[in-house]
């Protein structure tokens, strides 16, 4: 029962936040609603007994990504834009207003319809198991084992990815204007610092 | 003697290497090197001719070359010569030799020019010798490259357009042909998969193939694939429009090669590949081939008549003459086929003469207008002012017009004799082509040569020794083979006869 309540409340949070994320004009609010979505999803994970995943979701997403987003929003001003071009074909994707939402909604509905229609057939294949709602075992141990056995390569190589992403983000985010050489030097140092993190 | 084909094929390549080693400032050395190369090659072709066994119907066993090339695909470097390719070989050897002579005055990037010409020569020989589909196709395509540059760099005003058009047109045809070749490859297992000869003999009757979801007769669909590739090269009527551009824009020597040798590759392809491999389809569609041939004859002639550019006129006349070849092949009789092959040779010599002569006058006048766009005469009075030129021009012109005693007539007569029995109506229409053919040539001749020479014409000098020297062999060929064609007919007789016998089985 608790699971059901948790599910419904979490999914209500997810759906409501999604809707608000779509509708809001303010990007900052949007980020906050994203937070809602992510927490909701974490709740859904919990209903599925994925405790570790839920925790990671909260930590990485809520703690990292959303904050990153908020920084980005603040750095870039954070207002939504109106379409600039108003003619003919360019009208089509010039969203952020009713036209854009019409398009977005239309495409979304079509895609959703398509996927729903086709994935109905999914249940010809899937055999849904009986779930014992009351017995949740912790997954962390098993996950840990899997990570160093079956998914060792993925685990190791994701580190390469993260390293690359880190270096890459640093490379990209360097200021653009021509500056004296010493500032470049300082930057270099700075970005090496980042690497060591 | 067995390596003679290799010698012929690779001597030009050696020549290219030699030329590349000569510093480009030393233009005359380059020219002489090219001349020597082609001369040697020509001598080799003559040696081949001397050692040719006329009684052998298939490939000459003495000259076969077969070396494995790509083992996994059963591709061989396999060369051979028979009665159908032999005349073309001599023609190629001769024309390239003469073309080098005629290109003496080329002054723009001499080194590249002669190197490309020699490369062209090698590839053309390759096409005529190749007995392996892959090798054939490679030579067939590689030939486009030197042509592209020769037209595009040394050509006339609109050369780039012409070069690109030529290239694309031919490439289109040959890539379709490639599919046919590959389809054939999969039809035969083992070492003979790419062997042109192994496919011959109508093996693919009754086989079907699925394209666009429909079942087609293998025989027919790939006959048309081959047909497209070769017909564009010939060129047959609806595919001819690259030819006037290419000819008009190309430099003289290249026009000569184009008209003299390259067009023959198309008809050669029919005789070597399309007809023997798909005899049933060839026989079934011979009416269409003949009709296309006759349309080419008339259409080319009519279009030639309307031209004010003399080179374009001759270019269209090539369309017309190659139409005769197509008709002769469609006849599938001894006379017709032999006539077609002979016409290939004869058209090579006569049209080469025409283009060379136009080149000679172009070097003096730097234009080719019979009648300029503003309505004034481009030339006029050449006959009075340049007698030697006139005489040689007359020989060339009347040879291409089909005057008996000169080479064009015999082949046309044989073609007509061959085709009359099968396609009477078409013959009746086609002989009108002779009429129109005479009309446009004579009209052109009158407008260029008759009348009083203008000031401009008076400033031209008559042909010099070099020019006469390269015209004389062609004149001799045109006259000698006009009176006594047997030297050529004898070598082709057995091979063509074999082909005719094959075709006869399917009629």
């Amino acid at each position: 029962m608790f699971i059901n309540i948790l599910f419904f409340s979490a999914s209500a949070l997810v759906i409501a936040s999604c809707a608000l994320m779509m509708w809001t004009k303010n990007l900052m609010h949007s980020c906050v609603y994203l937070l809602g979505v992510l927490i909701g999803v974490a709740g859904l994970y919990l209903t599925l007994g994925a405790d570790f995943v839920a925790a990671t979701q909260i930590m990485v997403y809520v703690g990292g990504v959303v904050i990153l987003m908020l920084f980005a929003v603040m750095l870039t001003g954070g207002k939504d834009f109106q379409s600039k071009t108003q003619q003919l074909l360019n009208l089509l994707p010039s969203m952020g207003n009713k036209y854009t939402f019409m398009w977005g909604g239309g495409v979304g509905l079509v895609f959703a319809g398509c996927l729903t229609y086709f994935f109905m057939h999914l249940f010809k294949v899937i055999k849904v198991q009986e779930i014992d709602n009351n017995s949740y075992s912790p997954t962390i141990e098993k996950l840990g084992e899997l990570l160093v056995t079956d998914h060792l390569v993925a685990f190791e190589l994701s580190s390469v990815l993260l390293l690359g992403a880190l270096v890459g983000a640093a490379i990209i985010a360097r200021p653009r204007k021509e500056r004296p050489a010493y500032i470049d030097d300082i930057e270099h140092d700075h970005h090496h610092d980042e690497e060591h993190h | 003697m067995s390596g003679l084909l290799n010698w012929i094929l690779w001597t030009p390549v050696v020549g290219i290497l030699a030329i590349l080693c000569i510093p480009s400032k030393n233009k005359n050395a380059i020219r002489y090197a090219a001349l020597a190369t082609t001369a040697v090659t020509f001598v080799f072709t003559l040696l081949l001719y001397i050692n040719f066994d006329t009684s052998v119907a298939g490939m000459q066993p003495d000259f076969l070359v077969k070396v494995p090339w790509i083992g996994d695909f059963n591709i061989f470097y396999s060369l051979g010569v028979d009665g159908i390719s032999m005349p073309m070989t001599i023609l190629t050897g001769l024309l390239f030799f003469l073309c080098i002579l005629s290109s003496w005055t080329v002054d723009k990037s001499v080194k590249a020019y002669f190197a490309l010409l020699l490369m062209l020569e090698s590839t053309v020989f390759g096409v005529f010798f190749a007995l392996d589909f892959f090798l054939f196709y490679v030579y067939w395509e590689v030939m486009l490259l030197p042509m592209f540059f020769l037209i595009g760099i040394w050509g006339g005003e609109n050369r780039e357009y012409a070069a690109v058009k030529f290239f694309l047109y031919t490439f289109f045809g040959s890539i379709i042909m490639l599919i046919g070749i590959i389809a054939l490859y999969y039809s035969v297992d083992g070492v003979d998969a790419f062997n042109i000869l192994a496919h011959q003999g109508g093996k693919y009757i009754g086989k079907t193939v699925s394209i666009f979801g429909t079942e087609w007769a293998f025989n027919k669909i790939f006959f048309w694939a081959m047909f497209l590739g070769f017909a564009i090269k010939v060129p047959v009527f609806p595919f001819h429009t690259w030819l006037p551009h290419a000819h008009v824009q190309a430099p003289t020597a290249v026009s000569v090669i184009l008209a003299g040798v390259l067009l023959k590759m198309g008809t050669y392809g029919f005789l070597r590949i399309a007809f023997p491999i798909f005899p049933q389809a060839a026989v079934d569609y011979s009416t269409i081939i003949a009709v296309l041939g006759v349309i080419s004859v008339l259409y080319g002639a009519f279009c030639a008549m309307a031209q004010n550019d003399v080179k374009k006129l001759v270019a269209y006349s090539s369309v017309s003459h190659m139409g005769f070849v197509m008709m002769g092949m469609a006849a599938m009789t001894t006379q017709g086929m032999n006539g077609a092959v002979l016409q290939m040779f004869n058209h090579g010599t006569s049209t080469a003469m025409m283009f060379l002569m136009i080149g000679v006058i172009y070097e003096r006048s730097h234009h080719r207008w019979i009648v300029r766009p503003d309505g004034t005469k481009g030339y006029g009075g050449l006959a009075k002012h340049m007698p030697t030129y006139t005489v040689i021009f007359i020989i060339g012109m009347f040879a291409s017009l089909g005057l008996p005693g000169l080479s064009g007539f015999i082949s046309e007569a044989l073609i007509f004799l061959g085709i009359y029995e099968r396609f009477t109506t078409i013959t009746v229409i086609a002989v009108m082509g002779l009429l129109i053919g005479a009309a446009y040539l004579l009209w052109m001749y009158k407008r260029m040569f008759f009348g009083e020479p203008s000031e401009e014409v008076l400033s031209y000098s008559d042909m010099n020794i070099r020019e006469i020297a390269y015209m004389l062999p062609l004149c001799a060929a045109v006259i000698i083979f006009g009176i006594y064609p047997s030297p050529i007919l004898d070598i082709m007789r057995a091979s063509v006869g074999k082909l005719v016998e094959l075709m006869a089985q399917f009629q």
Partner: protein, 487 residues
């Protein structure tokens, strides 16, 4: 278990070498990036790493096909050969990046790092045997590629390209994951093996499975830029620095092709109820990709953009080979990718040289290249003709092999489409060739950075194109002996 995993490490030496190379490059960069002269060390490190990797890959060629690391990745000669090609491509772009002024000097070592990182992703992708490693590979490729795209500093186009790449990559990755998740749900595993079993076990045609695979394919299709997932690629290619463009048209594509081939062949290699529908999907995509790529390339001014579209066209052709994978298709693909790598390297090297002179890759700046720089012009010509598929160059043999395998499998329609496409492609290649050879140059000045080494490099890249066009027996033989690991 653990020892087993450790034992598997011996087959993973090439990847490890690359990872080590990446690390050492990072350190070298830290140490020497500011010093003009010593930056050479960075390059040397990269080259040595790549050569070592090549060496170990060659050693790996003889290894029997097997899954390693609990079947997460496989080592088989097919993937090893693809990796060899990728490494050669990477190595080739090193020199281009060295010569290019599109990437500022101080960023060149970053280029190396990123390229090697992408290479790791590509290698992982090429040998991935479950959806997770596949996803990781794709993401490694993508995320590092975004960075590479924006390496061209002080140029808004570069950032714009990066944004497009990132957004497009993000959405396709999401869609791919969505598809993967359903596959996982349906077949109960993220390993390919059970999925294949599951697909084979389907008694009737199941739309959901196929649609999931389609969604799954979106992610890979976006990497190889096949129609209709290609739209990012011209923009990104145009916006990126030239060496990066060169790199993009080699490594990610080859990796993607490897995956598509693996998925298609191992999932649908044997006749099942869903085989036909998947093959017709690939066939349709191949035909459309060729056509769209080549037609779009016709009217391009920017050479990079033109080459981007042309590479889309080539991908279409390679997809044809994928269709016939079991029957000559594999060797055809391998051969094609190898030749394609060389051709692309030459083309982009020449483009780099032109961009170095004029700062733009507009086709007009190629005018008269043949006269001002004969070797460069000649090489470019050969590359172009080879790309168009003209004998005696390798491009022809590659195309021949592909069409031949297609015809051998009765794919006549597709072959005809391919044939017509190569005519179309010739149109734009010739356009460039023509302006290069026939037109007169705007300026006679020579390219500063065009040194003796450049000549050696470009000739060195051209030689395989010609050589493989004439004597391709051995290499073809080698390629046709390649094995694909089947679960």
């Amino acid at each position: 278990m653990t020892t087993n995993l450790l034992a598997n490490l011996s087959f993973y030496i090439p990847e490890m070498i690359v990872i080590v190379t990446m690390m050492s490059l990072l350190f070298m960069e830290t140490a020497y990036a500011n010093n003009e002269r010593r930056r050479t060390f960075v390059y040397v490190t990269g080259v040595i790493g790549m050569l070592l990797c090549l060496f170990s890959l060659f050693k790996n060629l003889g290894v029997e096909a097997q899954g390693i690391f609990a079947n997460a990745v496989v080592v088989d000669s097919f993937s090893t050969m693809m990796k060899i090609t990728m490494v050669i491509g990477t190595l080739g772009t090193f020199y281009i990046s060295h010569k290019s002024i599109d990437i500022y000097d101080e960023l060149k070592s970053e280029y190396l790092i990123m390229a090697v990182g992408v290479l790791i992703g590509g290698m992982l992708l090429a040998s991935s045997n479950n959806m997770l490693t596949l996803y990781l590979g794709v993401e490694t490729l993508s995320i590092l590629s975004y960075v590479m795209t924006s390496l061209k500093r002080r140029d808004n186009l570069s950032s714009e390209a990066a944004i497009k790449y990132a957004l497009y990559g993000g959405v396709t990755a999401g869609i791919m994951l969505f598809g993967m998740s359903h596959l996982y749900g349906m077949f109960g595993s993220i390993q390919f093996g059970p999925i294949i079993e599951g697909i084979k076990g389907l008694e009737s045609f199941n739309v959901a499975a196929v649609i999931s695979l389609l969604l799954f394919f979106v992610g890979i299709g976006y990497k190889i830029a096949c129609f209709p997932f290609h739209m990012w690629s011209p923009d990104v290619y145009q916006g990126s620095p030239v060496p990066v463009t060169a790199f993009f048209s080699i490594v990610p594509k080859i990796a993607g092709i490897a995956v598509v081939a693996r998925v298609t062949y191992s999932f649908f290699g044997t006749e099942t109820v869903n085989t036909h529908i998947w093959n017709s999907l690939i066939a349709l995509i191949a035909a459309l990709t060729m056509t769209v790529g080549n037609l779009s390339a016709l009217n391009q001014k920017s050479v990079k953009r033109m080459l981007a579209f042309s590479s889309i066209g080539h991908v279409g052709l390679i997809l044809m080979g994928v269709l016939t994978f079991g029957n000559n298709g594999m060797s055809a693909i391998l051969f094609y990718t190898l030749i394609y790598t060389f051709m692309t390297l030459v083309a982009f090297f020449v483009t780099t040289m032109v961009v170095n002179r004029t700062g733009s890759d507009d086709a007009v700046y190629f005018r008269g290249l043949m006269k001002t720089h004969p070797i460069l012009g000649m090489s470019f010509l050969i590359a172009l003709f080879s790309l168009a598929g003209l004998p005696p160059f390798g491009g022809f043999v590659a195309k021949f092999n592909i069409i031949s395998s297609a015809v051998g499998n009765g794919l006549y329609t597709l072959s005809i489409v391919a044939a017509i496409n190569s005519v179309i492609s010739l149109v734009y290649y010739l356009k460039l060739a023509r302006s290069m050879v026939f037109d007169t140059a705007d300026s006679e000045e020579t390219i500063e950075s065009y040194s003796l080494a450049s000549r050696v490099y470009v000739i060195g890249m051209v030689i395989p194109i010609i050589f493989l066009g004439l004597f391709w027996n051995n290499i073809y033989h080698l390629y046709s002996s390649a094995k694909l690991y089947l679960n």
